[in-house]
Symmetry: C2
Protein backbone atom coordinates (compact mmCIF):
# COMPACT_ATOMS: atom_id res chain seq x y z
CA UNK A 1 0.00 0.00 0.00
CA UNK A 2 1.18 3.46 -0.81
CA UNK A 3 0.29 7.05 -0.02
CA UNK A 4 -2.86 8.35 -1.73
CA UNK A 5 -0.52 10.25 -4.05
CA UNK A 6 1.05 6.97 -5.10
CA UNK A 7 4.32 7.43 -3.26
CA UNK A 8 5.84 5.08 -0.75
CA UNK A 9 6.46 6.61 2.65
CA UNK A 10 10.15 7.59 2.49
CA UNK A 11 12.13 10.26 4.23
CA UNK A 12 13.37 13.35 2.40
CA UNK A 13 16.93 12.09 2.86
CA UNK A 14 16.21 8.77 1.20
CA UNK A 15 14.57 10.59 -1.66
CA UNK A 16 17.72 12.57 -2.44
CA UNK A 17 19.89 9.54 -2.97
CA UNK A 18 21.23 10.46 -6.41
CA UNK A 19 25.03 10.69 -6.19
CA UNK A 20 25.30 13.06 -9.15
CA UNK A 21 23.90 16.45 -8.27
CA UNK A 22 22.64 17.45 -11.70
CA UNK A 23 20.14 20.21 -11.08
CA UNK A 24 17.39 18.75 -8.94
CA UNK A 25 17.87 15.17 -10.13
CA UNK A 26 16.62 12.75 -7.54
CA UNK A 27 14.55 15.28 -5.62
CA UNK A 28 10.82 14.65 -5.57
CA UNK A 29 8.57 17.14 -7.31
CA UNK A 30 6.84 17.72 -3.98
CA UNK A 31 10.10 18.79 -2.34
CA UNK A 32 10.96 20.99 -5.29
CA UNK A 33 7.60 22.74 -5.11
CA UNK A 34 7.80 23.14 -1.34
CA UNK A 35 11.24 24.74 -1.69
CA UNK A 36 9.94 27.06 -4.39
CA UNK A 37 6.91 28.00 -2.29
CA UNK A 38 9.23 28.78 0.61
CA UNK A 39 11.11 31.20 -1.62
CA UNK A 40 7.91 32.82 -2.92
CA UNK A 41 6.65 33.20 0.66
CA UNK A 42 9.91 34.72 1.93
CA UNK A 43 9.75 37.36 -0.83
CA UNK A 44 6.07 38.14 -0.26
CA UNK A 45 5.27 36.99 -3.81
CA UNK A 46 2.73 34.28 -3.03
CA UNK A 47 1.37 32.23 -0.14
CA UNK A 48 1.05 28.60 -1.22
CA UNK A 49 1.17 25.62 1.14
CA UNK A 50 0.86 21.90 0.64
CA UNK A 51 -2.08 20.52 2.57
CA UNK A 52 -1.34 17.83 5.14
CA UNK A 53 -1.93 14.23 4.07
CA UNK A 54 -5.46 13.30 5.16
CA UNK A 55 -5.47 10.65 7.86
CA UNK A 56 -8.29 8.68 9.45
CA UNK A 57 -7.38 8.44 13.12
CA UNK A 58 -8.71 5.36 14.90
CA UNK A 59 -6.82 5.11 18.17
CA UNK A 60 -4.89 7.67 20.22
CA UNK A 61 -2.97 7.21 23.46
CA UNK A 62 -2.74 10.10 25.92
CA UNK A 63 0.21 9.24 28.15
CA UNK A 64 0.75 11.41 31.22
CA UNK A 65 3.41 14.10 30.89
CA UNK A 66 4.09 13.43 27.19
CA UNK A 67 2.61 14.00 23.77
CA UNK A 68 -0.44 12.14 22.47
CA UNK A 69 0.56 9.14 20.35
CA UNK A 70 -1.55 8.07 17.41
CA UNK A 71 -1.49 4.27 17.61
CA UNK A 72 -3.73 3.39 14.69
CA UNK A 73 -4.58 5.47 11.64
CA UNK A 74 -5.08 5.05 7.92
CA UNK A 75 -4.37 7.11 4.83
CA UNK A 76 -7.48 8.64 3.33
CA UNK A 77 -8.04 9.72 -0.26
CA UNK A 78 -7.72 13.47 -0.59
CA UNK A 79 -11.00 15.15 -1.53
CA UNK A 80 -9.21 18.15 -3.01
CA UNK A 81 -5.88 18.95 -4.62
CA UNK A 82 -2.63 19.12 -2.67
CA UNK A 83 -1.82 22.81 -3.02
CA UNK A 84 -3.69 26.09 -2.89
CA UNK A 85 -3.01 29.68 -2.04
CA UNK A 86 -2.93 33.25 -3.26
CA UNK A 87 -0.88 34.87 -6.04
CA UNK A 88 -1.45 38.24 -7.74
CA UNK A 89 -4.63 38.56 -5.72
CA UNK A 90 -5.99 35.36 -7.27
CA UNK A 91 -6.96 32.06 -5.69
CA UNK A 92 -4.71 29.35 -7.14
CA UNK A 93 -5.26 25.62 -6.80
CA UNK A 94 -3.20 22.80 -8.22
CA UNK A 95 -1.84 19.32 -7.94
CA UNK A 96 1.66 18.03 -8.67
CA UNK A 97 2.16 14.74 -10.47
CA UNK A 98 5.23 12.76 -11.45
CA UNK A 99 5.48 10.16 -14.16
CA UNK A 100 8.24 7.74 -15.10
CA UNK A 101 6.83 7.53 -18.65
CA UNK A 102 8.93 9.10 -21.39
CA UNK A 103 6.32 9.94 -24.00
CA UNK A 104 3.02 10.36 -22.21
CA UNK A 105 1.32 11.28 -18.96
CA UNK A 106 -1.21 8.69 -17.71
CA UNK A 107 -4.48 10.31 -16.65
CA UNK A 108 -5.02 7.72 -13.92
CA UNK A 109 -2.72 9.97 -11.89
CA UNK A 110 -5.91 11.94 -11.24
CA UNK A 111 -9.03 10.92 -9.38
CA UNK A 112 -12.48 12.05 -10.50
CA UNK A 113 -12.97 14.08 -7.30
CA UNK A 114 -9.75 16.03 -7.89
CA UNK A 115 -10.92 17.00 -11.37
CA UNK A 116 -14.32 17.94 -9.93
CA UNK A 117 -12.68 20.05 -7.23
CA UNK A 118 -10.61 21.93 -9.82
CA UNK A 119 -13.72 22.43 -11.96
CA UNK A 120 -15.58 23.91 -8.98
CA UNK A 121 -12.74 26.33 -8.18
CA UNK A 122 -12.30 27.23 -11.85
CA UNK A 123 -16.02 28.01 -12.20
CA UNK A 124 -15.70 30.50 -9.33
CA UNK A 125 -12.74 32.29 -10.94
CA UNK A 126 -9.88 30.31 -9.45
CA UNK A 127 -6.67 29.64 -11.38
CA UNK A 128 -6.37 25.86 -11.50
CA UNK A 129 -3.65 23.80 -13.11
CA UNK A 130 -1.40 20.81 -12.67
CA UNK A 131 2.37 20.60 -12.50
CA UNK A 132 3.65 17.52 -14.32
CA UNK A 133 7.18 16.18 -14.01
CA UNK A 134 8.74 13.62 -16.32
CA UNK A 135 11.18 12.16 -13.82
CA UNK A 136 13.37 10.31 -16.35
CA UNK A 137 14.28 13.54 -18.09
CA UNK A 138 13.68 16.07 -15.27
CA UNK A 139 11.21 18.01 -17.39
CA UNK A 140 8.50 20.03 -15.66
CA UNK A 141 5.35 21.48 -17.23
CA UNK A 142 2.43 23.56 -16.03
CA UNK A 143 -0.84 22.51 -17.68
CA UNK A 144 -3.82 24.84 -17.28
CA UNK A 145 -7.02 23.20 -16.01
CA UNK A 146 -9.11 23.77 -19.18
CA UNK A 147 -6.47 21.85 -21.16
CA UNK A 148 -6.27 19.07 -18.60
CA UNK A 149 -10.06 18.85 -18.62
CA UNK A 150 -10.10 18.56 -22.42
CA UNK A 151 -7.96 15.41 -22.18
CA UNK A 152 -9.92 14.12 -19.21
CA UNK A 153 -13.14 14.34 -21.28
CA UNK A 154 -11.38 12.66 -24.21
CA UNK A 155 -10.54 9.76 -21.90
CA UNK A 156 -14.19 9.45 -20.94
CA UNK A 157 -15.33 9.74 -24.54
CA UNK A 158 -12.93 7.56 -26.49
CA UNK A 159 -10.88 5.85 -23.82
CA UNK A 160 -7.49 7.43 -24.57
CA UNK A 161 -5.95 7.06 -21.13
CA UNK A 162 -3.06 9.48 -21.36
CA UNK A 163 -1.91 12.84 -22.64
CA UNK A 164 0.96 12.53 -25.10
CA UNK A 165 4.19 14.35 -24.36
CA UNK A 166 3.80 16.42 -27.53
CA UNK A 167 0.31 17.51 -26.44
CA UNK A 168 1.77 18.67 -23.14
CA UNK A 169 4.60 20.46 -24.97
CA UNK A 170 2.05 22.13 -27.20
CA UNK A 171 -0.54 23.13 -24.57
CA UNK A 172 1.55 23.40 -21.41
CA UNK A 173 4.25 25.75 -20.19
CA UNK A 174 7.71 24.27 -19.80
CA UNK A 175 9.36 25.34 -16.53
CA UNK A 176 13.14 25.64 -16.57
CA UNK A 177 14.93 24.75 -13.34
CA UNK A 178 16.37 27.77 -11.63
CA UNK A 179 18.30 28.51 -8.47
CA UNK A 180 15.71 30.60 -6.62
CA UNK A 181 13.00 29.52 -6.89
CA UNK A 182 13.99 26.04 -7.97
CA UNK A 183 10.84 25.69 -10.09
CA UNK A 184 9.63 29.16 -11.13
CA UNK A 185 6.14 27.82 -11.90
CA UNK A 186 4.41 31.09 -11.00
CA UNK A 187 5.81 32.66 -14.18
CA UNK A 188 3.60 30.26 -16.14
CA UNK A 189 0.72 30.99 -13.78
CA UNK A 190 1.17 34.72 -14.43
CA UNK A 191 0.85 34.05 -18.17
CA UNK A 192 -2.32 32.05 -17.50
CA UNK A 193 -3.74 34.88 -15.36
CA UNK A 194 -2.84 37.48 -18.01
CA UNK A 195 -4.67 35.43 -20.65
CA UNK A 196 -7.63 34.85 -18.31
CA UNK A 197 -8.06 38.57 -17.71
CA UNK A 198 -8.19 39.52 -21.41
CA UNK B 1 -2.44 16.15 25.54
CA UNK B 2 -4.90 17.59 23.12
CA UNK B 3 -5.22 18.34 19.43
CA UNK B 4 -3.24 21.38 18.23
CA UNK B 5 -6.59 23.18 18.09
CA UNK B 6 -7.07 22.53 21.78
CA UNK B 7 -9.77 19.88 21.43
CA UNK B 8 -9.68 16.38 22.81
CA UNK B 9 -9.99 13.67 20.19
CA UNK B 10 -13.68 12.79 20.33
CA UNK B 11 -16.08 11.40 17.78
CA UNK B 12 -18.76 13.54 16.19
CA UNK B 13 -21.36 11.49 18.04
CA UNK B 14 -19.82 12.16 21.43
CA UNK B 15 -19.69 15.84 20.61
CA UNK B 16 -23.43 16.03 20.04
CA UNK B 17 -24.35 14.82 23.48
CA UNK B 18 -26.69 17.63 24.41
CA UNK B 19 -30.12 16.20 25.13
CA UNK B 20 -31.96 19.41 24.31
CA UNK B 21 -31.78 20.14 20.59
CA UNK B 22 -31.91 23.91 20.74
CA UNK B 23 -30.62 25.08 17.37
CA UNK B 24 -27.11 23.77 16.97
CA UNK B 25 -26.46 23.46 20.70
CA UNK B 26 -23.83 20.87 21.38
CA UNK B 27 -22.45 20.78 17.84
CA UNK B 28 -18.86 21.84 17.47
CA UNK B 29 -18.13 24.99 15.51
CA UNK B 30 -15.99 22.89 13.19
CA UNK B 31 -18.94 20.65 12.31
CA UNK B 32 -21.19 23.66 11.86
CA UNK B 33 -18.73 25.28 9.47
CA UNK B 34 -18.17 22.05 7.55
CA UNK B 35 -21.93 21.67 7.10
CA UNK B 36 -22.23 25.26 5.93
CA UNK B 37 -19.33 24.83 3.49
CA UNK B 38 -21.02 21.71 2.12
CA UNK B 39 -24.10 23.80 1.40
CA UNK B 40 -22.10 26.61 -0.21
CA UNK B 41 -20.25 24.05 -2.36
CA UNK B 42 -23.44 22.31 -3.46
CA UNK B 43 -24.89 25.64 -4.62
CA UNK B 44 -21.70 26.71 -6.42
CA UNK B 45 -21.38 29.70 -4.08
CA UNK B 46 -17.93 29.02 -2.65
CA UNK B 47 -15.32 26.29 -2.41
CA UNK B 48 -13.98 26.13 1.16
CA UNK B 49 -12.49 23.04 2.77
CA UNK B 50 -10.99 22.35 6.15
CA UNK B 51 -7.39 21.26 5.87
CA UNK B 52 -6.51 17.87 7.32
CA UNK B 53 -4.93 17.83 10.77
CA UNK B 54 -1.16 17.84 10.30
CA UNK B 55 0.44 14.61 11.50
CA UNK B 56 4.07 13.58 11.89
CA UNK B 57 4.18 9.95 10.77
CA UNK B 58 6.89 7.86 12.40
CA UNK B 59 6.02 4.24 11.68
CA UNK B 60 3.85 2.62 9.00
CA UNK B 61 3.01 -1.04 8.48
CA UNK B 62 2.37 -2.32 4.95
CA UNK B 63 0.53 -5.59 5.45
CA UNK B 64 -0.03 -7.76 2.37
CA UNK B 65 -3.49 -7.52 0.80
CA UNK B 66 -4.70 -4.75 3.11
CA UNK B 67 -4.35 -1.05 3.67
CA UNK B 68 -1.25 0.55 5.16
CA UNK B 69 -1.57 1.06 8.92
CA UNK B 70 0.02 4.03 10.63
CA UNK B 71 1.36 2.56 13.89
CA UNK B 72 3.02 5.63 15.37
CA UNK B 73 2.35 9.27 14.64
CA UNK B 74 2.09 12.58 16.46
CA UNK B 75 0.00 15.71 16.13
CA UNK B 76 1.93 18.63 14.69
CA UNK B 77 1.20 22.31 15.16
CA UNK B 78 -0.51 23.71 12.08
CA UNK B 79 1.63 26.24 10.22
CA UNK B 80 -1.39 27.89 8.64
CA UNK B 81 -5.07 28.37 9.42
CA UNK B 82 -7.62 25.56 9.19
CA UNK B 83 -9.74 26.80 6.29
CA UNK B 84 -9.18 28.44 2.94
CA UNK B 85 -10.88 28.65 -0.40
CA UNK B 86 -12.50 30.89 -2.97
CA UNK B 87 -15.58 33.13 -2.73
CA UNK B 88 -16.67 35.94 -5.07
CA UNK B 89 -13.41 35.41 -6.97
CA UNK B 90 -11.41 36.19 -3.83
CA UNK B 91 -9.00 34.05 -1.83
CA UNK B 92 -10.41 33.62 1.66
CA UNK B 93 -8.51 32.27 4.65
CA UNK B 94 -9.70 31.84 8.22
CA UNK B 95 -9.64 29.95 11.46
CA UNK B 96 -12.50 28.94 13.72
CA UNK B 97 -12.21 29.22 17.49
CA UNK B 98 -14.51 28.33 20.34
CA UNK B 99 -14.44 29.74 23.83
CA UNK B 100 -16.29 28.80 27.00
CA UNK B 101 -15.77 32.30 28.35
CA UNK B 102 -18.85 34.48 28.65
CA UNK B 103 -17.41 37.96 28.42
CA UNK B 104 -14.15 37.72 26.53
CA UNK B 105 -12.20 35.78 23.93
CA UNK B 106 -8.67 34.73 25.05
CA UNK B 107 -6.04 35.50 22.43
CA UNK B 108 -3.99 32.44 23.39
CA UNK B 109 -6.41 30.60 21.10
CA UNK B 110 -4.06 31.83 18.35
CA UNK B 111 -0.44 30.98 17.72
CA UNK B 112 2.00 33.57 16.43
CA UNK B 113 2.47 31.63 13.17
CA UNK B 114 -1.28 31.64 12.47
CA UNK B 115 -1.38 35.41 12.83
CA UNK B 116 1.70 35.68 10.61
CA UNK B 117 0.09 33.43 8.00
CA UNK B 118 -3.06 35.58 7.93
CA UNK B 119 -0.92 38.72 7.68
CA UNK B 120 0.93 37.27 4.68
CA UNK B 121 -2.32 36.37 2.90
CA UNK B 122 -3.88 39.71 3.77
CA UNK B 123 -0.87 41.60 2.38
CA UNK B 124 -1.38 39.80 -0.95
CA UNK B 125 -5.06 40.76 -1.16
CA UNK B 126 -6.62 37.78 0.62
CA UNK B 127 -9.71 38.11 2.77
CA UNK B 128 -8.67 36.85 6.20
CA UNK B 129 -10.78 36.59 9.32
CA UNK B 130 -11.65 34.43 12.27
CA UNK B 131 -14.95 32.87 13.28
CA UNK B 132 -15.44 32.99 17.04
CA UNK B 133 -18.08 31.01 18.90
CA UNK B 134 -19.12 31.64 22.48
CA UNK B 135 -20.23 28.10 23.26
CA UNK B 136 -22.15 28.91 26.47
CA UNK B 137 -24.52 31.20 24.61
CA UNK B 138 -24.22 29.79 21.05
CA UNK B 139 -23.17 33.16 19.68
CA UNK B 140 -21.04 33.27 16.56
CA UNK B 141 -19.07 36.25 15.22
CA UNK B 142 -16.87 36.92 12.20
CA UNK B 143 -13.94 39.17 13.07
CA UNK B 144 -11.95 40.64 10.17
CA UNK B 145 -8.19 40.14 10.31
CA UNK B 146 -7.24 43.83 10.67
CA UNK B 147 -9.40 43.98 13.81
CA UNK B 148 -8.00 40.74 15.18
CA UNK B 149 -4.50 42.04 14.51
CA UNK B 150 -5.24 45.28 16.36
CA UNK B 151 -6.01 43.27 19.52
CA UNK B 152 -3.07 40.95 18.92
CA UNK B 153 -0.73 43.97 18.87
CA UNK B 154 -2.40 45.33 22.01
CA UNK B 155 -1.57 42.06 23.75
CA UNK B 156 2.06 42.42 22.75
CA UNK B 157 2.15 46.06 23.79
CA UNK B 158 0.30 46.19 27.09
CA UNK B 159 -0.34 42.56 27.92
CA UNK B 160 -4.16 42.52 27.64
CA UNK B 161 -4.62 38.86 26.85
CA UNK B 162 -8.15 38.83 25.50
CA UNK B 163 -10.68 40.65 23.38
CA UNK B 164 -13.73 41.68 25.37
CA UNK B 165 -17.13 40.51 24.22
CA UNK B 166 -18.25 44.09 23.67
CA UNK B 167 -15.23 44.75 21.45
CA UNK B 168 -16.18 41.73 19.37
CA UNK B 169 -19.81 42.91 19.25
CA UNK B 170 -18.61 46.34 18.14
CA UNK B 171 -16.02 45.28 15.53
CA UNK B 172 -17.27 41.88 14.43
CA UNK B 173 -20.28 40.64 12.49
CA UNK B 174 -22.78 38.57 14.42
CA UNK B 175 -23.90 35.50 12.48
CA UNK B 176 -27.41 34.29 13.12
CA UNK B 177 -27.99 30.54 12.95
CA UNK B 178 -29.95 29.54 9.91
CA UNK B 179 -31.24 26.35 8.35
CA UNK B 180 -29.21 26.34 5.14
CA UNK B 181 -26.44 27.18 5.56
CA UNK B 182 -26.35 26.60 9.30
CA UNK B 183 -23.87 29.45 9.78
CA UNK B 184 -24.22 31.95 6.91
CA UNK B 185 -20.78 33.41 7.59
CA UNK B 186 -20.19 34.32 3.94
CA UNK B 187 -22.74 37.13 4.26
CA UNK B 188 -20.35 38.84 6.67
CA UNK B 189 -17.45 38.03 4.36
CA UNK B 190 -19.32 39.69 1.48
CA UNK B 191 -19.67 42.84 3.58
CA UNK B 192 -15.94 42.71 4.31
CA UNK B 193 -15.17 42.30 0.59
CA UNK B 194 -17.50 45.16 -0.35
CA UNK B 195 -15.74 47.45 2.14
CA UNK B 196 -12.31 46.26 0.96
CA UNK B 197 -13.11 47.14 -2.64
CA UNK B 198 -14.14 50.73 -1.89
Amino acid sequence: MKYPNGKQFTSALEKKKSTINHGSRGMSLENEINQSNQYYLSRGIAVVHKKPTPIQIVNVDYPKRSAAIIKEAYFKKASTTDYNGIYLGRYIDFDAKETKQLNSFPLNNFHQHQIKHMQQCYDLGGICFTIIKFTKTDEVYVLNFPDLFKYWKRKEENGKKSISKSEIEHNGYKIKYNLNPLIPYLEAVKTIIDHTNI
